[in-house]
């Protein structure tokens, strides 16, 4: 077993373990931190796959953005030290059942499938390539999705502002 594979298993183990902790731990703040670790682990996986750009985006957006947002909202809404309410028993059982069945099914379907890799020459995943394709309208151009997503972000922003704005008391 090479170092690369060892690293992979370590990262994978880390991702799954922290993710599991993130969804099971009782303290909400801890949960957020475990999530953070898990996301960093995913970023590690991207590094491992030599997708540095994606890894960077992962860290910037998730770790720097979303998790911080989440932590803020936790502070806004909750005493972080409190334990969370326990889920109802029956639902937990059913959830475990559903998740296990789902996982088994999915994996049983994925594993035997023989993926046929493309034989074309690989393209370098460089920031330059990504950048030029992102804004290109020609072959492999992603300008349209880019524009769509920008509108989406704009809309989401407006939505957030309207909703989360403090309502003045007399309006109620």
């Amino acid at each position: 077993m090479s170092a690369s594979s060892v690293i992979f298993y370590v990262i994978s183990g880390f991702i799954l373990a922290t993710a599991l902790l993130a969804v099971t731990t009782k303290k909400i703040f801890r949960s957020a931190i475990w999530l953070l670790f898990s996301l960093i682990g995913v970023a590690g996986l991207y590094f491992w796959m030599q997708m540095e750009f994606i890894a960077a985006v992962q860290i910037i957006v998730y770790v720097g953005g979303i998790v911080v947002l989440i932590i803020f909202s936790i502070f806004l809404t909750q005493q972080s030290g409190n334990e969370m309410q326990k889920p109802s028993g029956i639902r937990t059982i059913f959830s475990i059942l559903a998740v296990c069945i789902g996982f088994t099914l999915t994996y049983l379907l994925i594993r035997p499938y023989i993926f046929t890799p493309s034989s074309n020459t690989p393209m370098e995943v460089s920031v330059k390539n990504i950048g030029s394709q992102m804004l290109s309208t020609t072959e492999h151009g992603y300008v349209l999705p880019f524009e769509v997503v920008s509108i989406l972000l704009l809309a989401a922003m407006i939505g957030c502002i309207v909703i989360a704005m403090k309502i003045k008391p007399e309006e109620k």
Partner: protein, 104 residues
């Protein structure tokens, strides 16, 4: 990297997917539900990157998809958090069980 078969990576992503799903099913706190959703999206991202890397390295479809998913995840999280905050103002709780006023 090449010694690791694709299916192992897919195993990880699938596991992550269902861990996220488990969280979504069982977490009573709205914010933790949101976190579970992020896990799910991450698992999909791993899928895309792995497929792109292992199978179709000639194009960057998977990579781009991942980028857009990450963006959307951010937007979604933002809106969701805004809604949760709004909900918290009226319910004084972010327990999802309390948000079951409309039923049957």
């Amino acid at each position: 990297m090449s010694e690791i078969p694709l299916s192992h990576i897919l195993l990880v992503s699938t596991a992550l997917f269902f861990i996220g799903m488990y969280g979504l099913f069982t977490r009573r706190n709205m914010i933790t539900m949101l976190m579970s959703v992020e896990l799910i999206l991450n698992s999909v991202n791993i899928n895309f990157i792995a497929f792109n890397k292992y199978l179709y390295p000639d194009k960057l479809d998977g990579v781009f998809f991942t980028v857009f998913i990450i963006t959307i995840a951010a937007a979604e999280a933002a809106v969701a958090i805004a809604i949760i905050i709004n909900l918290y103002r009226s319910h004084q709780s972010i327990d999802v069980e309390d948000a079951g006023e409309m039923k049957f």
